[in-house]
């Protein structure tokens, strides 16, 4: 297996910035976030789970889809597709699973989502295995593992004196060709996976529980904020709105943007005329969990949860997806 040192890795990453937009974990005022990187010195190599997933780089929180300019009776439209290649370095395996879960809807349905596909096809994923599971993590219960290579192009493992480099796909093999390394016999470290297993139940088990008291019990304290959906690597709901961006030199500028949306938000199901078919917190929260474990797997295949634990640790009122999964498993 290839072995590389931290210094060699940094030289390689700096080299990548010539051809690629490089994204990697960074310390942003105490938060660990995947961010665009100018130089390898900005990258965190020793970190736990980034506080946000990397979905922003496939499904940006705000993306301009279309620009419209109007001058008198002249109207011009321009579709916006950025031609950028990107490498995401230091991706945790759960975030690669998250991207794959979104792929099931945005990439593998016909037609694919053109904007999403554009980002995904231009992206190479270089993972860094977790040495252990962190607070709230339960990836091993939902088909992942701290050192899982699935859906990554390359996976690095931190080992004595440097990193073991595991190229997973052809794209990954090509990318690491320029990485200075030597061949070594390496025994990969076994990550500490001591998190309690959480039961995953089939959609059939969920269906009769729609009117159960579980949803009231957990949903009443929900704040209807969007934290859980925005930190989630698989939540993918969006809204499309038009906005005026100003009048310059007699030309009116309009943009059509796609923005993240959240089913936990009170307005999410509001229809024309004002009717809201999910008017209360419990029914909104219920939808989030049904989407993850019932609707999404039934309609598109993968679970809508990769066990990253971000929603567990960031919910201000302790709505714990693991507890919900246990309650559903226990329900008769």
């Amino acid at each position: 297996m290839k072995f590389t040192t931290l210094d060699q890795l940094k030289v390689w990453l700096d080299g990548l910035t010539d051809k690629y937009d490089l994204v990697a974990p960074r310390d942003v005022d105490g938060k660990v976030l995947y961010r665009a990187i100018g130089s390898a010195d900005e990258i965190l190599f020793d970190y736990e789970r980034p506080d946000l997933s990397a979905k922003d780089f496939f499904l940006p929180a705000t993306e301009v889809l279309l620009r419209v300019e109007q001058q008198g009776s002249q109207v011009t439209q321009e579709e916006v597709l950025l031609d950028r290649k990107q490498v995401i370095f230091g991706l945790r395996p759960c975030d690669a699973h998250g991207a794959a879960a979104i792929d099931a809807l945005f990439l593998h349905q016909d037609p694919a989502d053109a904007y999403y596909r554009h980002h995904r096809e231009r992206t190479t994923l270089v993972g860094l295995a977790c040495p252990q599971m962190w607070g709230g993590c339960f990836c091993t219960s939902v088909g992942g593992a701290p050192d899982d290579t699935t859906h990554l192009d390359v996976l690095l493992h931190e080992v004595e004196g440097g990193y073991a480099v595991e190229a997973v796909t052809e794209k990954g093999t090509l990318l690491v060709e320029s990485l200075a390394s030597e061949e070594r016999e390496i025994e990969l470290p076994e990550p500490v996976s001591d998190a309690d297993e959480v039961p995953v139940t089939s959609p059939e088990k969920w269906k009769p529980l729609f009117e159960e008291k579980i949803w009231m019990r957990h949903g009443e304290r929900c704040l209807s904020c969007r934290i859980c959906t925005y930190v989630c690597p698989t939540c993918r709901c969006f809204d499309v709105v038009d906005r005026a961006t100003g009048i310059r030199d007699g030309v009116t500028h309009i943009e059509r943007i796609r923005v993240w949306d959240a089913c936990t938000s009170p307005n999410y199901r509001r229809a024309a005329g004002g009717h809201n078919s999910r008017p209360t917190k419990p029914v909104r929260l219920r939808n989030r969990f049904y989407c993850k474990f019932c609707y999404y797997p039934e309609d598109f295949g993968p679970l809508g949860c990769v066990g990253c634990g971000r929603c567990v640790v960031s919910c201000p009122v302790d709505i714990d997806i693991r507890e919900i999964m246990q309650d559903v498993a226990k329900a008769k």
Binding site: D29, R221, C225, R226, I227, Y230, I257, T280, D318
Partner: protein, 287 residues
């Protein structure tokens, strides 16, 4: 101490539910992750779930907004008891003054407070600044008010930011707002944020649109702070819930201090409208 307070809360909750004085008691239950979390008790058989400990950080008054409407057509809105710390209690007064809740439909279970702790065990910063040990409004008071040293200067951290020249202060704030993900947790948790349609989420986007750009977030946070001027009770929930650790209380406390200095008004200290929201009478402005 905590156990005896918890026992008294349970006894009171049982009494209120059994005598049908209230339909629901909003309190705290045990949480494996954080020590405590909000709970809604409807049946006296469930009162044993209620707890009291140093992790009861949440301001439960915010949930009264969910209880303003009747659950069924033709019925009165529910009557609710709410476990309330001194800081939270000022929010009750704000909601009364703003006619959001009817006094007779809310039973305030006031608890004398020794200060709350973070999950890690250290005191919450807001508690280090706070001298209030008894709720300003209650129907029953549980616990003995502890005697505490007066807190140090409550605005020391604010002074640091205010000492920055304007361009550096702007840079400080833009750097903070840049991390915001527009999850609206600060708004959702706030007892003072209850507009049916938030001006920052209007379809016509008069002030800001749905984009995540820095200027949108800048406008959102300054707008929100101004809307709470003279109304914010400094429970600091907005800062606690922020997943990106924005120091939001600096904005709110600055405005609270201005209002107190200019008008001698401390939001929720008494059941009266903020002087920033005065009513014009025949005599003109009360100011």
């Amino acid at each position: 101490m905590n156990e005896s307070i918890a026992a008294e809360i349970r006894d009171k909750a049982r009494e209120l539910l059994e005598s049908e004085q209230v339909d629901c008691v909003i309190g705290y239950e045990a949480s494996a992750n954080n020590g405590a979390r909000p709970v809604f008790i409807y049946d006296s058989a469930d009162v044993d779930r209620l707890v009291w400990n140093e992790h009861c950080v949440h301001n439960l008054v915010t949930y009264l907004h969910d209880k303003k409407k009747s659950q069924k057509r033709g019925e009165d809105p529910p009557r609710v008891a709410v476990v309330t710390k001194p800081c939270d209690s000022r929010a009750v007064n704000v909601l009364l003054a703003e006619q959001q809740i009817a006094r007779e439909r809310v039973f305030v279970i006031g608890v004398a407070c020794e200060g709350m702790k973070e999950a890690g065990g250290e005191s919450q910063e807001r508690c280090n600044r706070c001298a209030d040990r008894v709720p300003v409004i209650y129907d029953v008071l549980i616990g003995n008010p502890p005697i505490v040293d007066p807190p140090p200067e409550a605005y020391a951290d604010l002074a640091e930011v205010e000492a920055l020249p304007p361009n550096e202060r702007l840079a400080f704030w833009l750097r903070q707002f840049d991390r915001c993900i527009r999850c609206y947790a600060c708004r959702q948790v706030c007892p003072g944020c209850y507009c049916t349609t938030c001006m920052f989420e209007r379809d016509d986007g008069l002030w800001i649109d749905a984009g995540i750009e820095l200027e949108q977030k800048h406008m959102f946070h300054l707008g929100r702070a101004l809307h709470l001027a003279g109304r914010c009770v400094e429970c600091n929930e907005c800062e606690r819930v922020c997943p990106m650790d924005l120091p939001l209380s600096l904005l709110n406390r600055m405005l609270a201090r201005e209002v107190e200095t200019l008008f001698g008004h401390r939001a929720g200290q008494e059941e009266e409208l903020s002087p920033l929201l005065f009513e014009l009478g025949e005599e003109g402005s009360p100011l």
